[in-house]
């Protein structure tokens, strides 16, 4: 039997990153993700790695940019206000086609906001992490085991596509402990990176890591090429979990902690005879459009359950081409919906459907 240990979500991310070959971590303390930094501070010196507490989130993401340029696996982690500061670096990483892992253990905002769990950085992660046309691969774990698995996956995808992967978690996922089987993690070897700036050794032409391009015709071509890559990712990398969807007439869409709450509500509603299921996006970008499209054959109503004022709901509407009503069931500012609240939303949808 696999050996399971209880770990906090934040610690599972850190340990999984180390197992995935990450030996460089840069960060700045911010609740509720500081356990990642603390774990790295303890472990990295013992395995020949680098833990460095940067002077700011801005410096941290640029240190990440440096290590990524050198072709090594590297990560930073923060929480919402800190991720805003990293926005500049995220754009540069995209412009220079560098692979890296950025973790956002979200808290409520805007501004300094609070420190309790939130999903209100969905737009930031999937649409507007920084200036310019670009995407990040955004993964949304819903268990501590997934915190570990998706960390490994995030490094693989980042290297495969030469882009930033973001793990979008929240305070609950970071702080909770669950059993984790770390030895089950499948670690793939890192691909060759002939583009990395490691010194020419006077044997090859210089490598240049750069996002500046003053000729608009050229810059347009770079953007076109990058979006062809994004299109391939949208075709091949979208992931979702479908729960009790076979005959569902109502579908709840939720990711991360919201999906855990929704699962309870779906089970309770099923016991009451309501045909309801759950679609849980695991990748937020690319958004898993297919399960939603397929669900249109049975589903009459969708409910988007979120810890924000309604952000993913837009992607649910886009994925279903606005052909069905989509309602929002939410809490915000650090509050978490209860299974009862979601159940009420399901019941309301079911009753409305009979009228």
């Amino acid at each position: 039997m696999e050996k399971k240990v209880l770990m906090k979500g934040n610690e599972a991310i850190a340990e999984a990153a180390i197992r995935a070959g990450c030996r460089h971590y840069f960060g700045y303390p911010i609740t509720p993700q500081t356990e990642i930094a603390a774990y790295m501070a303890k472990r990295m010196p013992k395995i020949g790695g680098t833990f460095l507490q940067a002077e700011s989130e801005i410096a941290a993401i640029n240190m990440v940019y440096g290590v990524a340029s050198a072709g090594l696996r590297v990560m930073t982690s923060s929480s919402s206000p800190g991720v805003s500061l990293k926005g500049e670096g995220l754009s540069y990483l995209a412009g220079a086609d560098l692979p890296a892992l950025v973790v956002n253990v979200q808290r409520g905002g805007p501004g300094l906001g609070g420190i309790q769990p939130s999903q209100s950085d969905y737009f930031q992660a999937t649409r507007g992490a920084g200036h310019g046309d670009f995407h990040m691969i955004v993964l949304a774990p819903a268990s501590v085991q997934e915190m570990a698995e998706l960390t490994v996956k995030a490094f693989d995808l980042a290297d495969k596509y030469r882009m930033t992967s973001m793990l979008l978690a929240d305070g609950t996922m970071g702080q909770m402990m669950e059993p984790v089987a770390l030895d089950d993690l499948k670690i793939n070897p890192m691909p060759e990176k002939p583009w990395a700036t490691t010194g020419t050794k006077m044997e090859r032409k210089r490598n240049i890591i750069n996002s500046l391009s003053l000729v608009p015709e050229e810059l347009e071509q770079f953007n076109f090429a990058r979006y062809e890559k994004y299109a391939e990712i949208e075709r091949t990398e979208a992931r979702a979990e479908e729960y009790r969807m076979e005959d569902a007439e109502i579908a709840v869409a939720a990711f991360g902690i919201a999906s855990r709450v929704s699962r309870n509500a779906v089970d309770a509603a099923r016991e009451m005879g309501i045909k309801v299921g759950l679609i849980r996006p695991i990748t937020l970008w690319p958004f898993p459009v297919d399960p939603f499209k397929r669900s249109l054959s049975t589903v009459k109503k969708y409910i988007s359950v979120e810890l924000n004022m309604g952000q993913m709901i837009e992607d649910v509407r886009l994925a279903t081409e606005c052909r069905r009503p989509v309602t929002l069931c939410n809490r915000a500012g650090g509050m978490i919906p209860t299974p009862e609240q979601v159940l009420e939303a399901i019941k309301a949808a079911a009753n409305g459907g009979e009228q």
């Binding site: 399971k4 209880l6 609740t31 509720p32 420190i115 309790q116 305070g171 609950t172 702080q175 909770m176 402990m177 669950e178 059993p179 902690i257 855990r260 709450v261 699962r263 309870n264 089970d267 978490i336 209860t338 299974p339």
Partner: protein, 178 residues
């Protein structure tokens, strides 16, 4: 299929998170699905701390316990705050040496243990939490020395292995309290 939801609460420093972790690990050892979720933030520095633990035969959905089957209250603010949230038929364990009032609810099982007093009388003043925990496990028919040693071995770091016996004694004291 059974699921037990625990809510542990008290002052920061009373070992609330620790007994939560014990219960989660004990469940893990017994091949159950478990989750442990602390309250976090300023309250961990002296205010009221709480922690949700779920032990289940099936996959744990929300890790947040808003209606516990078992409430552990180690101070009055915690009992005041959480008493009404306990499911009917659930149980409330409280430290009766720190909480002078009775549990008002009549539809729950209320068990007061003077844990803090017993702890200091017996020479382990920091282990009131373990005394209460021992009582809970005994009441639930889950008190076996073997099982408790195994779980203690998981939650007590190797560095503090010498603390295992005294923790066990505190739990036995609680288990035998009537």
């Amino acid at each position: 299929m059974s699921t037990t939801k625990y809510l542990f609460s008290g002052f920061g420093g009373q070992g609330i998170l620790f007994i939560g972790k014990f219960v989660a690990y004990k469940g893990l050892i017994e091949d159950k699905q478990v989750s442990w979720l602390p309250s976090y933030g300023p309250e961990m520095r002296g205010g009221t701390a709480s922690c949700s633990v779920i032990v289940s035969d099936s996959q744990v959905g929300s890790p947040i316990v808003s209606n516990p089957d078992v409430l552990v209250a180690m101070n009055l603010p915690s009992l005041d705050r959480f008493e009404s949230s306990v499911v009917p038929g659930g149980s409330v364990y409280y430290d009766s040496s720190l909480i002078e009032r009775e549990v008002a609810r009549k539809d729950v099982k209320a068990v007061g243990v003077p844990a803090t007093r017993l702890a200091s009388e017996n020479g382990f003043p920091t282990l009131a939490n373990m005394i209460l925990l021992g009582k809970i496990l005994a009441d639930r028919g889950e008190f076996t020395e073997e099982g408790i040693r195994a779980a203690l071995g998981k939650v007590i770091s190797a560095r503090h292995a010498d603390m295992l016996e005294v923790n066990l004694r505190a739990m036995q004291l609680g288990a035998n309290y009537n």
